[in-house]
Point group: D2
């Protein structure tokens, strides 16, 4: 029932706590005969791994993935693929205090209220550590897309805003962002962000961010009316990432400020009868919940990290009024390391919808 | 598999085309013994009904709902509730042209690509007419919430921005909006919006809008980690509404511009040990995917209506370059009539999560 | 959540009570472009309709189906198909007594315990009348199979045992059964069954039956490990039919009496490399949960009708010890009219699995 | 989408191949605060473990389970519970031959046809080894039942027939069967079965079996109409066990041979107004798909093991006509070791339905 799982046909259930022995996930419904090994997944985990710059948590996790099932002689067999990542650098003593005090803006309070108990070590289940599994699964989802379509879907995300400072229009270089430790799409804004992050870290504070993700090569026809809408599934997938507070498709909130005559993505004849040319992409590649063949564009807003070293007023579990200062090792801007997660969720949703579409409508001819 | 359905335990599947004989839906999983009759649902449908002001489509639909099953002697029996609404004022001749030409920004193109055919009359399945069924189901969902919690959850939405003109901060009166034909939460902005809408209509153009929805009385504890997140489900539910392009929870995109020290919703002791007092609500009532007991706040961006009377460049199904002017009867600002739909989706998601929570964690004591 | 629905990708939700205004269902996930009209469905409903012989209930229902959505110009559009069947001959006065007394062997007691209330008229939701909708949906499922495979799957069921009197081995003529009012596959046993049924009706008693269903033309490869097993889904589908108490695949319980060397279905080279010849079919066409290309064979045991005119000891809702004699119009042997329902469930499960298989493994080449 | 998973609210996905590094599963949706450790699960695994008698496979697996998540300080936290069992005694060389030859009656052929490839080592995914995970999850499901109901549900299964030799009526002692290595419910029949098993093993042949399972203490009200039927879910769950070919509820196929007047389970006043006394239990504790409060009784038919040492005619993957003799270590009667699996599936289905019922109908007062 999807408490901890994603997808309809390509299903991912994730499990594990930040400071338990391991985290992992199971992918069910994967098509057979796709070449897959740990080395196909590891590069994606490495991009999300903490410690790539001084602006991310100093926790040291190798994040080495083991494939425990579903692959035989280097190819998927169509049976469930179990992924396991051991936790190596859990320092649970740092968390003694937060076992008893609720960090404002964090899930401590709501987990306690819902379940009556929680694993407080490293944030337990609510830690962003869980997203490593999504990134691993996303690597597989990219393979599924390429295998079924015969050509890769290019999925690239970048940070486009930190602490209110946005990349100027026209300066987004997704290829550059892909290899940048901050996933910055422009060197100038990057320099500014570095300063802001250093300042926030010195102050013991944190910053929010906006991440943009673009998927190119998505065939027209993915999605369905009403609840099988591609944008609805993307919205859920993105909003399920830790610290996400907003999701936009295409022009998003800005579309609400356009006139109908401006927002319309006009069409002209394209290279082939089946591939029209759109004169703009305010829709972000989705019309009526179904992909149009244009690039799918999503933006996600991430709030600033809740775990900060500035004292905030809160309560103990016993109801006593206290202050809390969160020690431990935290990212000053969780939005940065969310970039590979956003890409992974995009890949998972697209691959799932490709299977759904194939079920109902058959093989999609990608030449059109 | 949720092509056309919502919910996990309180399930709604909707069916029907804009100009078919009827639209309707089936609600499965409703708790038994809830008082219900057509007259409990009709007022909600009346709020969504076209023709309440000159700013909505002039199609005349009484939108009378029939309950065909699942209710006996005025109470729900726990079996599926079938809802039927006849289409009375379908004028399909208006749509001859769009059968052959794709309206930019509309689902015509993607339906054709996906399914190879579509019912073009009135937009067929992609018409916002489908949302009438959601509104009817939302009325039931409100009943479910009140029945299970012993006290109503107050769910109210309002238009907070049209064509880029937003309600000034502190001027949102949700009670006033509830009965206003434009769902405007402030008389001053309302006057401005009227002018803008008249102008747009005269020009044959359309405007976008932002709708805000607040649910008060939601118990803490609804939601779950990862994919059962309350905000993820809300995001999907809202994004599934016709013309929605963005969703925010609480401070949303603005949270990405706050520092962690500003964004934290600090806590003080409240009236009872189980009900702390929060000093702000940037989180919009949801932490770690689980409700905190604060009001749940969602905002949804709606693009301007795609069907406009200004000529736009497009293609015919045969690939010929043409222009299109959409006649027929359309709302110049679809965001207005989306207000009751946003409320309905909020009610459906909350009721569903209340059942999910009851399944896993038992009866929730709402005194806390 | 499947309280009242079937299927994973080809989803059917049914609704309605025996004596409400109507019964119906919604089919979601149907592939587009399949030719469909009411006249394609009606013949199947006519086979299930009461009153085809003196051995079925004397309730007179025309069972005329209306398609309210999802079909445009005679072809499915890929959107939900809503089916409606009006109840015409409901005589609720017959049921005054059973509103208060629990009929032994019937769902009266358990519905009351579960929901706290029930619609007692004609058995309400627990009436076999609901199966008319399944039969209508099954007619569509056959179309889906033929459309996707390019050749029809022949699905035929017959009564093979009534009141303990089984058709002798080798006397099962499924083609003959198809048009017989008792769905008897052999004229000799049919004569014997007629006598037994007349005697039971005179005595006010009822008889059980076993129904066998064979699907020919099913491609190899449908199903999946563990819970997506074709036989598991068939078992659930058949056990969900009113009065079903047992399900067997292939040799079934008899297989438990065979030795491994006898039960093995040996293989020899067939007409083509992809189509081996099996020397027997104890497996009933399913190995490891996946179809083998042999005919899929299922048998279902139906208990005798619980509504009988012989007095049985029971309780009133108030707990008083009483006797009950069920009047009203009932089938003396529900197994007979279950035949088209068994066929429909077979068709629905196979079509669903064909879509599932296409999603994961692609188009299945049916020449092999 | 349930390719490899069970349950609606208490969800189990299993993964792993017979000769891979490990097998395991993830349980999602478990209520919080249930005491749980490896030692609660291990005894159930020990009962299923091979090597308890000379009549089961000689593969030596300690089947030690590790809990990797979802438990904190000895109690469930409401988050996913990951279970891991390492494979210790895999001897894959035994299986070189079957990589190329299809064993009649086995899943080799259908996996190859469906997926185009398979892991042949030890039967890969189709091996009964997967059921160890179900048994582990079943141990947790028993805990869930006891925790939610306040009193244990007693679930006991026994072999009631081997090779056509059934336990005589009235000789079924479930308590005795629980600790017997053959799960025999009667010492006399046990002796006979030992002889038959020895003979079959000497001949290199195998025998089928029937297993009966009885759950006592199940509250009335579990289940739902149409597809949420308790018996439909039990049928699917049982039929999903390796080698199962038939499922019966209560009198099952024998009910088809009774008259309505005989089959009716008459009712008299019981100890309390809410607990009537039934004079028989032909229904097997389920009426209209909903539990009645009587013991839930299920019987499952298991075919004889397909892996035998008697030569059978088959084909190679290249289509060549050959014979096959299956070496390796196999149970001569898989029905025996299925007993703990049948119990586990019963526990999982009941716990799932208890959660479903609590969602829709609230806490069930188990005193009635």
């Amino acid at each position: 029932m999807s408490w901890n799982s994603f997808g309809r046909l390509l299903r991912l259930v994730t499990w594990g706590e930040s400071h338990g022995p391991a985290i992992g996930g199971v992918i069910d419904g994967c098509p057979p005969s796709i070449a897959l090994s740990e080395s196909d997944i590891q590069p994606f985990l490495d991009r999300r791994r903490p410690g790539r710059s001084r602006h991310t948590t100093q926790r040291r996790e190798p994040d080495e993935v083991e494939i425990l099932s579903g692959v035989y002689e280097g190819r998927t067999t169509g049976t469930p693929i179990s992924l396991l990542i051991r936790n190596r650098d859990a320092r649970s003593k740092d968390y003694a205090e937060i076992a008893d005090r609720w960090r404002p803006g964090h899930a401590d309070y709501t987990y306690d209220l819902k379940y009556g108990l929680r694993d407080p070590r490293g944030g337990g289940r609510s830690s962003a550590r869980e997203t490593a599994v999504r990134v691993a699964a996303g690597a597989l989802a990219r393979r599924v897309l390429a295998h079924l379509l015969g050509s890769p879907v290019t999925i690239r995300a970048a940070v486009v805003e930190i602490g209110g400072e946005a990349v100027p229009p026209g300066r987004i270089d997704l290829a550059a962002a892909a290899t940048d430790p901050l996933f910055a799409p422009d060197p100038e804004i990057r320099a500014r962000w570095e300063e802001m992050l250093d300042e926030a870290r010195r102050a013991g504070d944190s910053l929010g961010a906006v991440v943009e993700c673009v998927a190119e090569g998505v065939p027209a026809g993915l999605g369905a009316p009403v609840h099988g809408k591609l944008d609805a599934d993307l919205a859920a997938a993105m909003m399920s990432i830790n610290a996400a507070k907003g999701v936009e498709i295409g022009a998003g909130f800005a579309a609400a400020r356009l006139k109908g005559s401006e927002n319309a993505d006009e069409m002209r004849a394209g290279a082939s009868p089946d591939a029209p040319r759109f004169l703009s992409n305010h829709a972000g590649g989705i019309l009526g919940g179904i992909s149009s063949g244009q690039p799918v564009v999503v933006r996600v807003a991430f709030k600033p990290t809740s775990s900060i070293r500035i004292a905030r007023r809160t309560l103990t579990r016993a109801g006593e009024e206290v202050e809390i200062v969160t020690k431990g090792r935290h990212d000053p801007c969780v939005g940065i390391r969310a970039v590979p997660v956003v890409e992974a969720m995009m890949a998972l949703v697209l691959a799932d919808h490709l299977l759904l579409d194939r079920a109902q409508c058959g093989e999609r001819d990608c030449s059109r």
